[in-house]
């Protein structure tokens, strides 16, 4: 059944191996990560070596090889956020939850992604939880936001993110 999905995705791009990256993006959109079995299937369908597919998966930081948590937490590490204290926010979260940037909490509540810049410098430091932007975040307010997360989320827009805006502004 899953193999069918891979075939569909490959056909979407007319089997053009040049479109490998969009195919893998589509695959990740389905699963939330790139399952090894599906990557093998893509390599077979496109008749390219698995090493190439794996290489691409490893090279681009947006690809994930393991499932992510219920919530997606993105912390901006752009220059302005950095100057305004993003490293200390990252430190606080990692310490509190015992994870590294890119990692998922033990209870699979959220995955922490540190990204280069989200281009919302007027709001620095910025943290994004399931697409919702929090501005002027501090280590304390970040932990408050994450502490209020609950497991149920599945794709609903009204994710259980706290209603109030983060402090600091």
């Amino acid at each position: 059944m899953d193999r069918e999905l891979v075939t569909q995705i490959v056909e979407r791009y007319e089997g053009d191996s040049g479109m490998l990256i969009p195919m893998m993006q589509d695959l990740q959109a389905e699963y939330g990560y790139l399952p090894a079995e599906q990557l093998r299937a893509i390599a077979e369908e496109l008749k390219v070596p698995l090493t190439r597919v794996y290489g691409v998966a490893m090279f681009y930081s947006s690809f994930r090889l393991s499932p992510k948590g219920a919530h997606e937490v993105t912390l901006c590490m752009g220059t302005v956020c950095y100057l305004k204290g993003a490293p200390r926010i990252s430190e606080a979260i990692c310490q509190e939850y015992g994870i590294e940037p890119g990692g998922t909490t033990a209870d699979r509540m959220f995955t922490l992604q540190a990204v280069n810049c989200v281009g919302a410098c007027a709001l620095a430091p910025v943290m994004i939880v399931d697409g919702k932007y929090y501005d002027g975040v501090t280590p304390e307010s970040a932990l408050g936001i994450l502490g209020a997360l609950t497991p149920e989320v599945e794709g609903s827009v009204a994710a259980p993110a706290p209603q109030s805006k983060a402090g600091g502004s």
Partner: protein
Amino acid sequence: MATATEAAVQKIIHSPKELEAYRKKREKNKKKNTRIVRVCIGTGCAAKGSRRLYELFCEAAGGAEQAGGGNGSNIVIESKHVGCHGLCELGPIVVIDPGEILYHSVEEPDVAEIFRETVLGGRVVERLLYEDPKTKKKVKTPAEIPFYNVQKRIVLEHNGHIDPTSIDDYISVGGYSALAKALGSMEPEGIIEQVEEAGLRGRGGGGFPTARKWRSCRRAESPDGIRYVICNGDEGDPGAFMDRSVMEGNPHGVLEGMVIGAYAVGASQGYIYVRNEYPLAVEHLKRAMEQARKFGFLGQNILDSGFSFDIRINRGGGAFICGESTALMASLEGRTGEPRAKYIHTVESGLNGRPTVLNNVETWANVTAIIGMGSSEFASVGTEGSKGTKVFSLVGKITNTGLVEVPMGITLRRIIEEIGGGVKDGKAFKAVQTGGPSGGCIPADHLDTAVDFDELTRLGSMMGSGGMIVMDEDTCMVNVAKYFLGFLKAESCGKCTPCREGIAQMLAILERISTGEGELEDLDSLETLAELVMEGSLCALGKTAANPIISTLKYFRGEYEEHIRNKHCPARECRGLFIYKIDPESCTGCGICRKNCPVEAISGERKQPHVIDQGICTKCNTCFEKCPFGAIVKV
């Protein structure tokens, strides 16, 4: 793609004449009493809830329309969401026409009042107006706000005015007439000449003359006649969001430039490579492409010229290096984004081995403007070697964070002081960083430098794609260099040794210095390594990687030496190279710091000045953040 042929059959506009007729018809149908509410949905404003404001205005407009039938008013109300207005600091921004009344920091409860007073009543809501910080006078329109009136908007002309999801809006402001002019009355060679006369240089950072690139591509031999044009929307520099705002706010402006460029170089297929972190830009571009196909501005036989061209969007994978032209093309071919040596230029052998023109988003948008206004008008703006304008994202420790477009040749001082409103919170200016990780820091002594490609390079920085990051006295320059080197270490693709190993070594030295373990010889090693990495690296990432170090060493050497000699960080940013003390004059003895200290390093009687035990203190910064009286000082 199949859509191109389908659209060819049923497209709306077949010729330049039909486009003009369509525009005139829309002009004629415009209702006289239209009131327009323009709500900014750029990233900054959207993050502060402007989408909800837009919905509320739409609801209000809907309600008024129903009521309007009864009371005989013939006012037509149109709410639209528009791209970035630029003044992100004071978002959400809402502008009401006619009158171009600008309201800032608008919140949900304000909607009803704005609607009642301004939209229906034609009166101004005083408290939401911008207050000039110098004169303390409230002003109504952007033209009266220094942030706007020092700017010169060519690329951003329509940003904030048109609905980026409406091709009709774009056509109303003259959209696609440059394309009609190019296809209807110009030869490809003539277009290249116009771009050459305009003096357009690539806005992605390098400043390469656009026309020269195009001419080489046009003249290069292609085995099967296929040529490509690519739009580089992989804006990777941290602190830069110019291209994002253009793609989000006026996607048709970019598409139009690409079609004109494709016609000039003889390309039949185009690609837009957009950064993964920009989903709204992808959405708006996709929608714009669908509309352009439907109207006949993309696809087969565009405007009856016999020229056919279509575009495909690819999303990046989160790799900074893919902003480099050859790495981007490798990525478009479905491979890892590793650059290659450029002894064969991409204009001769680029994507899939075919002649390829790659330009950045802002460059393409400028092409539309040049063909539209003519090269001489465009060239009348700017300096001898750099024509036109440049869009910058003005960010960091600055009062008016935002998106600005200025004529080339304006001084850094005017951008920072007049447009930016100076350094935030009355702090002293220290440096401005341009050019992203490839650029450098420019100190106060050089603020009167004219901003153009050559001047910034002369100062050891570069124009770059347009990030302009202002730093104040509290910013440690060693830390800044460390930040950029850390960024580049993570983003180096690892293909060539000088870049991969050299950056890591330079970073290791900077880390030593910032923890107080540096030695004076380290500065020499940094300079030697910098030269080596610059000379030996394959692509621009490595070749420019040392710029943040070289420029900070050049202008702020004393600060490095202070870290090494006295184990002291003058900006008090490097943890461990300064201490926290309690100022007994300001301390009220409230005990908040004592209660919050995680290692119990603070002691003191209630209502008596407290003290920090330096032997226990871990310099965690908690007391500094918690003290309500500003009594904790860093020394």
